[in-house]
Structures are given as C-alpha cells and as structure tokens.
C-alpha cells in the first residue's frame, strides 16, 4: 500500500566532489529543496559532502550527515517516516546503492515512494544490455554489442553490424586495451590473441563509433507525457574523447534541421518509453556522412549536462522538475522571469546567444598524470561563456581558463613544439587542445587536413581561422581603432590584445575608452527576445542595446570562484553563497560575477544580479563602471584580486587564506577565535591530525582545553579585528602556539557546521564595518564526533597517491559523524 500523502521527503545527496562531479548536484538540490519548501513539504537531506550548502536551507534535524552506504541509509530510512524519496540528485554511485535497497524491498517495506523516475528505470538506463534491449523495442538505433566465444560467431556478428568494430577480451589475464579493427584480416588477427588472453575465452565486440559527432539532448517529460526539449548541445570533440572533457556548444552549430529533428524525435520517444518524470539527458552519436545516429547514453537524472542546459538557456530546470516530481504537469507550472503569458513553463527554450562549456584541468598540480584526452574524464571543472558569435563565446572561454593554459599557449612556438609533436597532439588530443589547434592554424594547416586529423567538424576550423585572422590583424596594426573594434566585436579580451600589442592591459583599456568602444550587457533568457523577461543574469558583448538596469540601492559586487580547480573550490563556493546571504541581510543588493556552470552561487534567487562572465580585470571593471558598487568583495587574496588592485580597485577582502592551514604549520589543536572591536572570544576548539584531517569536538582534557582558550585569547589581543585559527602544538604538558593565521577556506564549511555558527556572516559584518550586531554563540552539544577529511583525484587520474598529500590538491571533502 503506497501512502497517499506525500509530506516528508528525503533527498539523498552525492558524496564529496570529485572529477566528473563538480557542484552541479548541490546546485540542483538547493533549488529542489526551495521548491519543495514552497509547496509546504518537509525535506530531509542526507549527505557526507563537507562542503554542502544544503544545511543553510534546513534546520539541523533535517540535515543528516551520514556515510552513504546501504546500512547507514537503511537506518536513516527506518528511523524517519519518510513518504517520498528523490533519487535523481545523488549521481551514479547513489543510484546503484538505491537500486540495491529497492531490489531488497526496503522502499516497499517502509512505504516510501520513489519520486520522479523509478529506480528500475534508472538501473535499466545504466546497464548497456538492458538499455539496448529497450531501445531495440522502440526501434531506436543503439551501438550493437555482443559477448561471443567463437571466431565464426564474431565474424557473423560483425558482418551484420559492419566495420570498424572494437574488440576487447573478457576478463583478460593481462591489462589489454580495446582494439579497433577495420577489416576482417585485422579482426582475425586480433581475435586469435584476444581469445587466448581471455580467461573465459570470450570477447566483447561492438560497433566502433569513434570519430562520430556527439550530441547531448536535455529533455523534460511530465506526468501526462508532455515532453519538451530544453537544450540541444553539440560536442566539439568527436566520440572518443569523454564528453566531460570536450568543449560543448549550444545551440548546435553544425546540424541540419533534419539531423536535429531526427535526434529530437528520438529523445522524445525515449523519455516516453522510459516513462521519465522530470529531467533526462540523452547522448547521441551522429555519423554525418550517412546521417545515421545512435543512442549512446540515457541519464534520467541531474548531471553536468543538465546544469549546463539550465545555465545556458536560463530555463529553471530544477524548479520545474521538482514540481513534476510531486505530481504537477507542465501546463500548470509557471516560471519566474517571464512577464506575460502566465509565465508558461511550456515555452520551449530558444536562444539568441551562443553558450560554450569549456573544460578546465588541474594538470599543473599533477604533472605526472597522463594528459591525453580519451574516454576517461580528466578535467576537474569547467567554465561557461556566452557570446553573440561562435568566435566570441570561444575566445571568452579561452581567457576564462587558468593561467597554466595561457602559459601553455605561450609555449607553443616552433622552438618548443616541433611538427611531429604537433601532429601527434592533433591526432591524440590532450588537455588544452584548442591552443594546439590555433597553433596549427598559425602554421598554415588547412581546414580539410585539420578536420581529417582531428575528426572535428570543419565548421570549427573556419571559426578558429577567423580568430587567427583577427589575431594577425591585431599584431600588424597596433592601436588601430577599426581593427580593435572588430576584435572586440568577435570577443577578444583587452588582455589578449595587450599581449599582441606588447603593451599593458591598461593601455588597451584606455585606448578603447578613448575611442568609446564600450560593452553592453545582454540578458540570458530562454525566449530569444520574443517575450519581455525580468532578467537577472547577464553577459557582456559589444553591441548597441544595454539591458542591465541599475538600481539605486547600496550594492556589493562579489567576485565568484570561477572554474573548479583542486584546492579551495567547492569550499570557496560555500563561502560565496554565505557572503551573498550575509550581504543581503545587511541590506545590500548583491551582484555576482562567476563563470562556473555548475556553481551553487549562480543559482537563480541567490544573488540579486549575476554576470556570467570570465573573471578578468576587464569584465570586473566594466561591470563596476556600470553598477557603481559600494564594496567589491573577494574571498582572500588570489590572482584576480591582485590584478584588480593593480588596476586601482579597492577590494574588501574577507580575511581568509586560500592556501591550506597545515602546509607550513605543525599542530595538534586549533582554536577558532574572533576579535571584533576590542572584544575577543573563542568560537570553538578542534583537534588537528597528521593527515590534515580536522576533528570536533576537541579531545583535549579540561585542563588543556582551558589553557588553549586562555592562550588563544591572549594571542588574539596582539591581532587586528578578524577571525583566526590559533594553532597549537602539544609537547608534554606544554602548549606551543605554532601560528595565528586567517581561517583557511577549505575549513570553513566544516567549522560552520560543527560550531553551528555562521563564521562567514561575521566576517562580512567585520569587513563592511557592521560588526556592532554580535550574534550569540549557540553551541549545541551534539554528542557526535565530527571529522573532516579531504578527497584527492589521484585515483581518477591514475597516478599513485603520495602519503599525506597537501590538501591544496584536494578536489573535495568528506565529513563523517560518529556517535560518542
């Protein structure tokens, strides 16, 4: 008997961030929680992600920290009488887990309704055999694959599916790669050895689609089978490079309407067949020489692509899907923003801008990792860039990525990269591929050659050639107004131009100002200008109409965290979100610049105004000139802060350290202490371990604890106003202060949770000189032991993990809670 009421809903969150999982699931989760609250539902969130922001939206009893394993989840489900569970916000490992629970009958037993899509459906989409069987039923083309144990059977199968094929021994004794076979001769040769090294004498054979074009469709279906396409995106790289490591464009750039509609129709049929209720991301491979497409993935849940779809179109995907999950249908759902036509959620998004998602890598920190792009994802994050031409979006994305890539770009001259090396990269792409492509164009490679070598559509090479043509013109005609105007129109940044003109950025900026080449801000919305829209998100371009309305309110301009790199990132996002909320509470209009498509801080309804732009001096100054903010806020000191200060901007910094606490300082204890207007107090005491993990409450005995508190206060008296980590080393009964340093960003989410005290809010009050309103400490004795550990990407990058790696190389953080 299913419960009829649907009041208490549980969301199982993802674990810590890792490669392939930025903060996109958190982002969708927050929107879902807000939407469920609006509908009067009681929401509980379960997670072990130390950087989760969901706690801000839930009281402690609805924010459960738990290991994400079967036993822990069953206990939680048994102890709470949930009516419904949302399975689409936890990522792949969570489905596998939930599917196990479902198979074991747990949800039936406990009368919990799984909302949105059924776990059986998810399992079917994730199992290639089941997926292919269902696709076959609805006559949708899939990649034929088979496990066979006899050469004749293989030949028969391949005759049916056609060459090339990929052959892989099953359960091989040696680590054997997949082999591509172009003809029968190669296949027979390959099979001989493959059967030999397979312990089961079997091979897996599948049709090779390497080199096909990859298309990603994001579709929503409701409870009455109304289906709409939210976003169609096209991968720059062909099949063979992980979609997460490819540059992605929307709208599609090179598809004819026939190809587009065939794939769209297929996507709609698939969500109907699988009875999806809510979001679905479907990946296709398209062979443009025959016009045939294949379905390669069906993901009926939130992921990187759905996050990009939501940001690129401005369509509130999570809001709409949540309403669908508790039974509403698209025709009765309204979306904020649209000023007319009953704010109909049913208007299918269509764009008058081009959005690109560009992968970012952290290889500067992991130099020994293999940087070749293949089917294993390696990028640690991504940026989103908007433009009114393919060139503009691409150029903005290029200057959004980190400085490592820029230096990579600089190192590509012929003395550093010979012809053979260049061709090798063209055939086997590596991180930062686009810089090599640009270099190849500079060296005179032709479109046909490049398209042949890389299997990237020729269209993109015409665009890259145009970029290089403008570059050449810029080099040849420094300080030529028309050349500059054209370069700006096609997306060149001041700093990129300064490099070519061999002058300072400021000189370019001044010259541009003098000649009145000024940016305009355009709204990001899903109707291509057809309907009046209350824009909240903007991007910069150089055209005629400026849509950004400037308010009279006091304003803060907050620098976002940009692309996800190892180190501070997910935690920095947490700090950004808290900064926005604290500023709003103090009565400021909050204006954010950020360009990570998965970022939490760019959520609708969070910052009052959002500029989705590269964090460059040029963009920040443009926005500041237009908005005239009272404060510019940054989280600690990093490159853009230094650059802006050099450009004369007064930055109000949150007193935070972007490097990690433990790298130079040995310690056993850490006291978080605050000094505001001559008043000092300790906020709490933590244990620090050798592996840089942090523990709460401190295990220090009463006597030591008192001593720690006392010394910390006296340490503080020497400091300026601020919040500090006072670090102690214990030697026998002696306590030695090893450092009094600003809080490390990576510790803040954990400390905030452990102390149940909004540290960031205090910092914001402090820097904005509104500190007279001191918040009371409401320490709750939770009777639990909390531990913060860092998660590193070594495994995913397939390199050995050193002992106690510095946590500035961490990609995520895990929190564990043990009953005392």
């Amino acid at each position: 008997m299913a419960r009829t009421k649907l009041q208490k809903i549980v969301i199982i969150g993802s674990g810590p961030n890792e490669i392939g999982m930025d903060t996109e699931l958190e982002t969708a989760t927050l929107q879902t929680i807000q939407e469920l609250h609006k509908a009067g539902k009681e929401v509980t969130f379960v997670s072990n992600n130390a950087n989760s922001v969901a706690g801000d939206y839930l009281d402690p009893e609805h924010f459960i920290i738990s290991n994400l394993d079967a036993n822990s989840l069953i206990t939680i489900l048994r102890n709470n009488e949930f009516d419904g569970l949302i399975p689409t916000l936890g990522g792949t490992p969570i489905f596998q887990l939930l599917h196990q629970l479902d198979e074991a009958g747990i949800f039936n037993q406990l009368n919990i309704r799984v909302l949105g899509v059924s776990l059986k459906t998810i399992a079917n989409t994730q199992n290639p055999e089941a997926l292919n069987r269902i696709l076959q039923n609805i006559h949708e083309p899939y990649i034929p694959t088979n496990i066979l144990s006899d050469t004749n059977e293989v030949l028969k199968f391949v005759r049916r599916i056609g060459y090339p094929v990929i052959v892989k021994p099953v359960a091989a004794i040696t680590n054997n790669n997949r082999m591509r076979c172009e003809n029968e001769h190669q296949l027979k040769q390959m099979l001989a050895s493959a059967f030999r090294i397979s312990t089961t004498h079997q091979v897996a054979v599948e049709k090779s689609i390497v080199g096909f074009k990859e298309i990603e469709m994001t579709v929503i279906r409701d409870n009455e089978n109304t289906r709409m396409l939210i976003c169609a995106a096209e991968d720059f790289n062909p099949v063979g490079v992980h979609a997460g490591d490819s540059i992605v464009f929307t709208p599609t750039q090179t598809l004819t309407d026939q190809e587009f509609q065939a794939i769209r129709s297929s996507a709609l049929r698939i969500v109907q067949e699988f009875k999806i209720r809510g979001i679905c991301h479907i990946q296709f491979a398209l062979n443009q020489s025959t016009g045939n497409y294949y379905v390669i993935r069906v993901n009926p849940y939130f992921d990187r692509t759905t996050a990009f779809a939501a940001r690129a179109t401005g369509y509130p995907v999570a809001l709409v899907c949540t309403q669908i999950s508790f039974g509403r249908n698209l025709r009765s759902i309204t979306i904020p923003g649209l000023r007319q036509h009953d704010s109909l959620a049913l208007i299918e998004p269509t764009l008058d801008h081009i959005a690109v998602r560009f992968p970012t890598f952290s290889f500067a920190s992991f130099a020994n990792a293999n940087q070749e792009l293949n089917t294993r994802m390696k990028s640690t994050g991504s940026v989103i860039a908007f433009g009114r031409s393919t060139e503009e979006a691409t150029l903005k994305a290029i200057r959004s990525v980190d400085s490592t890539s820029t230096s990579e770009q600089a190192a590509l001259d012929e003395s550093r990269l010979n012809e053979g090396q260049l061709i090798n990269v063209l055939v086997h792409p590596t991180a930062g591929e686009v810089f090599y492509l640009l270099e190849a164009i500079r060296r005179g490679y032709q479109v046909e050659e490049l398209a042949e070598l890389t299997k990237i559509d020729a269209f993109y090479f015409y665009k890259l050639i145009h970029i290089v043509q403008i570059e050449k013109k810029l080099r040849k005609h420094p300080f030529d107004v028309d050349v500059l105007r054209n370069a700006k129109y096609y997306g060149y940044g001041d700093s990129q131009i300064a490099q070519l003109w061999k002058c300072s950025d400021k000189k370019v900026r001044d010259f541009r100002e003098t000649n009145q080449i000024r940016p305009t801000f355009k709204g990001i919305e899903p109707t291509a200008g057809e309907f009046p829209y209350n824009n909240r998100s903007y991007y910069t371009t150089f055209e005629t109409e400026n849509e950004s309305q400037i308010s009279e309110k006091p304003k803060v301009f907050i620098l976002g965290t940009a692309n996800n790199q190892v180190g501070t990132n997910a935690a920095a996002e947490y700090v950004t979100v808290h900064t926005i909320q604290a500023c709003q509470k103090l009565g400021f209009e909050t204006i954010l610049i950020n360009n990570n498509p998965s970022a939490i801080s760019i959520l609708p309804r969070l910052a009052d105004k959002l500029y989705l732009e590269p964090l460059t001096v040029e963009n920040c100054l443009n926005i500041m000139n237009s908005e005239q903010p009272d404060f510019v806020i940054a989280q600690g000191k990093w490159q853009i802060v230094t650059d802006l200060e050099t450009a004369g901007v007064k930055i109000t910094q949150l007193p935070l350290s972007r490097t990690s606490r433990a790298e130079n300082v040995e310690s056993n204890y850490l006291v978080v202490a605050e000094k505001m207007e001559e008043k000092q107090r300790n906020l709490g005491c933590f244990d620090t371990a050798e592996d840089a993990s942090l523990h709460f409450p401190s295990s220090a005995k009463k006597q030591i604890s008192n001593k720690l508190q006392h010394i910390s206060l006296s340490e503080l008296s020497k400091q300026e106003d601020g919040i500090y980590s006072v670090m102690f080393k214990q030697e026998g009964s002696h306590l030695i202060v090893t450092g009094t340093i600003p809080l490390a960003i990576q510790d803040i989410p954990f400390m905030t949770y452990a102390l149940n005290y909004d540290i960031v809010a205090d910092m914001v009050k402090l820097i904005l000189k509104r500190s007279n309103c001191e918040s009371p400490l409401k320490l709750t004795s939770q009777n639990v032991h909390l531990k913060l550990e860092h998660v590193f990407p070594y495994n995913q990058l397939q390199i050995p993990e050193p002992q106690n790696p510095p946590f500035s190389l961490a990609i995520g953080a895990r929190i564990t809670s043990t009953k005392l």
Partner: protein
C-alpha cells in the same frame, strides 16, 4: 566585407556588413526564433515581400544543403543576422549561404544587434525596412522606403503557373499551390501519394475532373483577404465532396470559406517554441509556426466548425475541423522543415480519412 545599412521606416539606422546580393531591397521586417533550419526558412515562400531577422545569432554553419529547400527560388527580400558563418565553397560540394543568396539575388546584412532589433519589432509591430548601400545622406533612401508600396498579390507571384505532377503509386492527392512549402510534398511522398500540384487559380471543376482522393490547400504568403473570392468559393464547393486538409494560408482561407473572419496579428509570429494543445486528445506538442494572420475565435460558427488546436501562449486558433464534412485545417506547419515533426501524424490522419472514404 563591405558595409551596408539596414534602415527602418521609423527612422532607425543599423550599420552592418553585406553578404549575399548587393542589391537594394525593401520589405516588411519580421523575426524568426527557430534554432535550426536557416535554409528552409529562407526558401519558404511565406516570406515573399519580407526581410527575415534571425534571432539565432549565427547562421550558415553548414552552407546550403541539397535536402533543405522549401522552394527552389526563394522570394524573401532579405536576411538579417548577427553573424554569418564564412564556410567555404568546396566543403562537401555545397554552396555557402553567401553564394546562394548572391545567386538568388537576395541581400543579407550581418553584424546587426538582432536582439535589440527584435525588442523593437515586438514593441512596434509590423515595420518596413530596407537594406541599402552606406551613403552619407540617407534621406533619399528613407524617401524610397516610405514611398514603397509592397504588392499584395504575393500568391500569384509564388504559385505555380502550370499544373505539375509528383507521381506516386498510392492515393491521389491534389495540392493547391498558394506558395507551397516542399515539406508538404515530402510528407505526401513518404506516404507514396500520387500528387498533382495545381495553380492557386484552379477551379472546383478542374479539381473534380482529376477525381482526387483528397485535396490539400498549401501554405503561402500574405493576407487571405487579398485573395480573390473565387478561392473561398472553390473551397466551399470542394469540401463538400472531397476530403480536405488545409495548412497555413490554406487554413485561413478554409476558415473564411466557412464564415469565419481572419485578422492580422499585432506582430508576426515565426518560430517553433510555442506549445500547441490538441483539444481532442488533450496532448501538447510543438510545431513550426509562421503567421501574420489569425482566425478570429469569436467569428467561428460553432455549428459548422470545431476548434481542434490552440496555441497555449496566445490562445490563438491553430486548428479547425468541419462538423459535417471530412475537412480540417491547421495554422502551423505539420511538415516541420524546419521544426518539430511531432505533428506530422496529421498527414497520416488525412491518409486515413481518404482511405476510409474510398473503402466506403
């Protein structure tokens, strides 16, 4: 690329770059919000007399594709876009968009803030415009623009002057060409129909003489009220005897033939993002739309006609069905091209109606 101007009859001047034909052109400026299919849009005869603004910022990415013509000789008056992709000629032996427009004598202008322009068109309604060479004194160009009277005889200019066949071995269908979109023929070909395309001036007698199983009234440009009354008379006669399916302009004429009124929209609607409700099945789908006129809902004689489809954005009538005769019509384009194919099953429905009737 050389500079050109786009001027509007309200006095606005936009500077941009020339592509396509270097001719000076005049027309009504209308915008299309479709994300794909620039070639189908440009070659659609409904744009006769009109200059098309693409909200999609970049067009031309795959050149001209042999399977994407909606007419062989397009008659739109111009193309306005933010960015036109400079895709070279020899790629897959295709023409580039620029070359194609040169051959077809259609001027284009790129580098326009099309989002701003669309905001203006939304606010002003129908605007006349002209793409001209950049001269210092635009007074003459504006005089010409204001003096120009666009023809209202569009259908006679785009309809075939002579009947022609599109043979098949299935049902016999007459298509009355009001500015036919090839998509309609494509859909009928897929269903193996034996098609005869007749000029718009054909009479009911001529149709009856061909003894067809069904008649399709095609899409076309301009206002249905500018067309001779003989057309609605023909429809009123044909619908009584032969299954009839009317699309776009055909739908507007079908409505008028049955006593309904047609009124101009404040601004034309071209795109494929509006949800359309099928009242009978209660299903919602999307389809390509291109209309400057709409059937006045109040004027529909409910004893005679049934509203079958409405646009959920503006509640406009998108489909009608005759209560007594096997005749129905849709305002949108069920053949897609460009656009969604969800409603192509209307052609199956038409085939079914014809088949049932034949078997009776």
């Amino acid at each position: 690329m050389s500079e050109r101007y786009l001027i509007l009859d309200d006095g606005t001047v936009y500077r941009g770059q020339a592509f396509g034909s270097p001719a000076t052109t005049f027309g009504e400026v209308v915008f299309n919000t479709s994300a794909t299919g620039y070639q189908q849009i440009i070659t659609n005869q409904i744009y006769h007399n009109q200059i098309i603004v693409f909200s999609q910022p970049s067009i031309g990415g795959y050149g001209i594709d042999r399977a994407s013509y909606e007419s062989i000789e397009p008659t739109c008056k111009g193309v306005i876009v933010r960015d036109v992709a400079d895709v070279s000629t020899n790629r897959q032996r295709r023409l580039s968009l620029d070359e194609f427009l040169k051959i077809q004598n259609i001027p284009g202008i790129s580098g326009i803030d099309t989002r701003a322009l669309i905001h203006k068109l939304r606010a002003k309604g129908t605007v006349k415009g002209s793409i001209v060479d950049p001269v210092k004194d635009l007074a003459h160009a504006f005089d010409q623009l204001n003096a120009i009277v666009l023809t209202n005889q569009q259908v006679s200019q785009v309809s075939t002057p002579k009947a022609y066949p599109n043979p098949g071995t299935g049902l016999n269908v007459v298509v009355v060409d009001l500015g036919l979109k090839h998509g309609i023929l494509r859909q009928l070909s897929q269903r193996n129909c034996n098609v005869t395309v007749l000029p718009y001036s054909c009479t009911a007698e001529q149709i009856f003489d061909l003894d067809p199983d069904g008649v399709i009234l095609s899409t076309g440009p301009g206002s249905p009220t500018d067309l001779p009354k003989s057309l609605t008379d023909m429809i009123a006669e044909v619908e009584q005897r032969i299954p009839l399916f009317a699309i776009g302009l055909g739908h507007e004429l079908f409505a008028m033939a049955n006593g309904a009124k047609v009124k101009p929209l404040q601004f034309e609607h071209h795109g494929d993002n509006h949800p359309i409700l099928s009242i009978i099945t209660d299903e919602i789908f999307y389809a390509s739309q291109g209309q400057g006129y709409t059937v006045d809902r109040e004027s529909i004689n409910r004893d005679k006609m049934l509203t079958t489809h409405i646009d959920l954005v503006d509640q406009s009538v998108q489909g009608l069905r005759h209560r007594d005769f096997p005749a129905f019509s849709v305002q949108f384009f069920p053949d897609g091209a460009p656009g969604q194919l969800e409603s192509s099953e209307l052609f199956d429905e038409f085939i079914e109606i014809m088949t049932t009737r034949m078997e009776r």
